[in-house]
């Protein structure tokens, strides 16, 4: 299959949806490619509790003349202006004039003894499973890690009937109070915070606290929590544990976009360092839904050539960036989290490579060559981010970079003859 678009958007979360809707209003031929079965990305994952804003934009998207490739995963950029993607049973070359990367974010997971036990999941991970139909009513859940996602997840799970035993935020109270100062400047965010706190009423909220171990035989039974050197066990059915959202940079890096401090750099109009490639949403900085929507709109307008309109929105965007930085500063990871893993704790879950086998290596590349760390099907998406924190290595944006295909692919998707250049 071959398709040609004026503007191709990768990722159909808030940023991607906003970008596509802005671009299509400018009468561009727009395509949207996304690897999930339904639109919305992670934050607006379809399911019971989509916010009204999400429902209204998704309805707009349904009505818009946008070609949607849902359940398609981008694998490679065989040549400039073309992305190769595959779905369950076919592959396609998607040719574009302008490309908008709205690839979103994932969670960072840090290894600790027992974290590979079934029912230990990401914070967003458990939330996604519940939205995907996992019954949670009456189940005991510990939510741990860092950032506002913990509260959002705890609130959602509590609403679905979960018994949220504890919420453990690794950041100190002092840092969180400083963040609260910024929240007052962002009333919408403050309201969201209050709402989440109210819904989780009854759960214990600890600061400077983390999951030090997960215990159980075939699956999770108890979690050992640690706070100020004191440890205790909580019985639970699920542990939802994530340490920050980190951007999905594989595709931007593959395309050669400049990365700084772990994020794609863009100008005010969301243009990356690569001509005709724009980036919006979490890959440019973890800023939440409102900022992602704004960046998506800017990217869509700019890609469609509506520069003046895009510039107006860019002024609004600049005002939100302070919050992005404040949030990042407030939830800097406590260095004590580096010593949770024991010698035998698995770090690379695909290849079962333990902490003790990794720490003797000088960098990510050497570790890969000697231990197969990061060489399983996730291609280092999980352990790479962990080793960045544990050892200061650079995995995705580092010297070894990204090689296509950016996801494991069928051989037929790689060998099918690429777009015939004469056709264009």
């Amino acid at each position: 299959m071959r398709e040609r678009f004026d503007i191709l958007v990768v990722g159909v979360g808030p940023a991607g949806i906003a970008a596509a809707l802005s671009a299509v209003e400018a009468e561009q031929r727009v395509g949207l490619v996304d690897d999930n079965p339904a639109p919305g990305g992670q934050i607006w994952r379809s399911g019971v509790s989509q916010p009204a804003a999400a429902r209204s934009l998704l309805a707009k998207l349904d009505a818009a003349p946008v070609q949607r490739l849902q359940g398609w995963r981008v694998l490679d950029s065989a040549e400039r202006g073309v992305l190769r993607a595959e779905c369950e049973n076919e592959c396609a070359d998607l040719r574009y004039g302008k490309l908008i990367l709205a690839t979103g974010a994932r969670e960072r997971f840090l290894p600790f003894p027992g974290w590979t036990l079934p029912n230990v999941m990401g914070a967003g991970g458990l939330d996604a499973m519940v939205r995907g139909g996992l019954p949670i009513a009456g189940k005991r859940v510990v939510v741990a890690g860092t950032g506002p996602l913990l509260l959002a997840v705890a609130a959602h799970l509590a609403r679905k009937g979960a018994i949220v035993v504890a919420i453990c935020e690794q950041a100190s109270l002092r840092r969180l109070v400083r963040l609260a100062g910024h929240l007052v400047k962002e009333p919408a965010k403050l309201l969201q915070g209050i709402e989440h706190s109210a819904a989780t009423f009854g759960a214990k909220f600890y600061t400077s606290c983390w999951a030090a171990a997960a215990n159980g035989r075939e699956k999770l039974e108890t979690v050992t929590l640690e706070r100020n050197g004191k440890r205790w066990d909580e019985r639970c059915d699920y542990l939802a544990c994530g340490y920050h959202l980190i951007p999905n940079l594989e595709l931007p890096v593959l395309l050669g976009c400049r990365i700084e401090d772990g994020f794609v750099t863009t100008d005010d109009l969301q243009r990356t360092s690569v001509a005709d490639v724009f980036c919006a949403g979490e890959p440019t900085g973890i800023g939440g839904v409102e900022l992602a929507l704004l960046e998506g709109q800017i990217a869509g307008l700019a890609a469609a050539g509506k520069i003046e309109e895009a510039k107006k929105l860019a002024l609004r965007r600049r005002r939100s960036l302070g919050f992005v930085r404040a949030l990042r500063d407030a939830t800097v990871l406590d260095p004590r989290l580096k010593s949770l893993a024991s010698e035998s704790t698995i770090v690379c879950r695909c290849e079962d490579v333990a902490f003790g086998a990794l720490r003797i290596h000088p960098n990510w590349r050497a570790a890969k060559l000697h231990t197969r760390c990061g060489m399983g099907p996730c291609q280092g998406r999980i352990c790479g981010a962990a080793t960045e924190f544990l050892f200061g290595w650079t995995a995705v944006s580092g010297e070894s970079g990204i090689r296509p295909p950016v996801f494991p692919a069928r051989v037929s998707s790689l060998t099918t003859i690429a777009w015939d250049k004469k056709e264009t």
Binding site: D35, N36, P37, Q42, S46, G47, G71, R106, E107, F109, T116, L117, P118, N119, V120, M121, G122, G124, G125, L126, D127, A128, M129, G132, G133, L134, P135, E218, K219, N248, I346, R349, C350, E351, D352, G376, P377, C378, R381, I382, P408
Partner: protein, 83 residues
């Protein structure tokens, strides 16, 4: 009429499971109480990221191995095999 909400019947390791439309295969596997896969050293594993990144939820679905069960919705008479 709550019946319509639980209308998809599938099997996980030959055990019948009934789920609501929109349920992912990964959720169905957890409902069936099975791990999704065995790691290369034989540990039982379950879903971690829930969004198609970590590959821990890989299972054999209708005879096709290594499918990310968290990104696939349950369908009537689907046959899922784990471990």
């Amino acid at each position: 009429m709550r019946k319509a909400a639980h209308s998809i019947a599938l099997t996980v390791n030959d055990v019948p499971v009934t789920v609501a439309p929109g349920t992912t295969v990964a959720a169905a596997i957890l409902i069936a109480g099975a791990p999704t896969r065995k790691s290369v050293t034989g540990e039982p594993r379950g879903p971690l990221c829930g969004m198609g990144i970590c590959f821990e939820c890989r299972a054999t679905i209708d005879g096709i191995a290594h499918r990310r069960s968290c990104q696939i919705l349950c369908a009537q008479d689907m046959k899922v095999r784990t471990g």
